[in-house]
């Protein structure tokens, strides 16, 4: 009896801490990326964005996504990878309008993906 109570409590604690960390980590990581995407949008619209800026955002994301793979669907991560790569490529070619649209999509994804981890009716069913 004591053994089952201990194992149950341990399992509940693992899940509770895991869930809390997931909520904190996923939201923080996506908030950071969204902030960087918004800066890039401003730079793209003012046509001051450089290839180095875009690469910095992408490199930052590459570091973050290694940890994120544990919590976030790999398909979502691939999608962000794709939009970021396109953003970097358009920035390199100085096609600022196209690059801005890519970063707008990234900013939107950074809002919508974490919403999928909230305890909401539409996420549960």
């Amino acid at each position: 009896m004591v053994k089952s109570i201990i194992t149950t409590v341990c399992a509940i604690l693992i899940l509770a801490f895991g869930a809390a960390y997931e909520q904190y980590y996923v939201f923080r990581a996506f908030d950071d990326l969204k902030e960087q995407a918004e800066i890039m949008i401003e730079k793209e619209l003012s046509k001051t964005a450089t290839y180095e800026d875009a690469s910095l955002v992408r490199n930052q994301w590459m570091k973050e996504k290694r940890k994120m793979c544990s919590f976030v669907s790999h398909n979502d991560i691939k999608e962000l990878d794709m939009w970021l790569s396109e953003g970097v490529a358009f920035t390199k070619e100085k096609n600022f309008d196209e690059a801005a649209t890519k970063y707008i999509v990234i900013a939107n994804l950074c809002e919508s993906i974490p919403r999928g981890y909230l305890i909401k009716f539409e996420n549960i069913f």
Binding site: S4, L15, S73, I124
Partner: protein, 228 residues
């Protein structure tokens, strides 16, 4: 992770309710909630393992959720009789000294033929061989043999069950519907619809039970040359 936990709780509850509603026929030797866990764990472990686009943490947290539910249900079941009945159900006494309990059979989504089949698996061929027959909550069949059980070498066949004639078996026994009707009328049953079960063995021994009443056994004369 919390979303997966809640989804697991919901899926588990739905499966458990469905398994309980389906009755004991769907269950092997496990309690209903143990069967649900077995079904769930296999899938939960399998999908994240084979689909690399799903983080492994999803599968682990769902399995942990199922484990927590199992521990909670087991504790509730052990500590309280009421919960035990809700979670695992209770044994069903389907055959007594009075005869077949059709209501209990119906509650478990079974009929007399299913009962006879389970009896045969346990080594009993006539309803008259047993004092009691029970379907345990884990789906097992238990039987208490009659002390004066006859060692008949002939297997009984069903002539009528649940208010309906078994025409193929009537052919084997070379009886027609009128003859059966006159036999049951002599025993005070005026409609075949009132017959719960009527069997006949190769020695001419009839087991007849009217729905809601005690069974009776008697002998009839078999036609010449009939044997099984």
């Amino acid at each position: 992770m919390l979303v997966i936990f809640i989804r697991s709780v919901i899926t588990f509850s739905v499966l458990l309710v469905v398994m309980r509603l389906m009755g004991k026929r769907q269950i092997g030797e496990m309690q209903p909630f143990e069967l649900v866990i077995t079904l769930l764990i296999a899938e939960l472990a399998c999908i994240p393992m084979s689909d690399v686009s799903i983080p492994l943490v999803y599968g682990i947290s769902a399995i942990l959720a199922v484990f927590i539910i199992h521990q909670i249900l087991s504790t509730l079941e052990r500590s309280n009789r009421f919960f035990k009945r809700i979670i695992s159900g209770k044994p069903s006494l389907v055959l007594t000294k009075e005869g077949v309990d059709f209501e209990q059979l119906r509650k478990n989504d079974m009929d007399v033929e299913d009962l006879i089949e389970s009896m045969r698996t346990a080594g009993y061929y006539s309803l008259d061989d047993l004092d009691y027959a029970i379907f345990e909550s884990n789906g097992n069949f238990s039987a208490k043999e009659k002390s004066e059980r006859s060692e008949s070498t002939s297997m009984p066949i069903i002539l009528a069950s649940d208010g309906k004639f078994a025409d193929k078996n009537l052919e084997i026994a070379r009886f027609d519907r009128q003859e059966i009707m006159s036999t049951i009328k002599k025993r005070g049953i005026n409609s075949i619809k009132k017959v719960g079960v009527m069997t006949l063995d190769g020695n001419g021994k009839v087991y007849l039970q009217e729905k809601g009443k005690k069974y009776e056994t008697f002998n009839v004369k078999l036609k010449d040359g009939i044997q099984w």
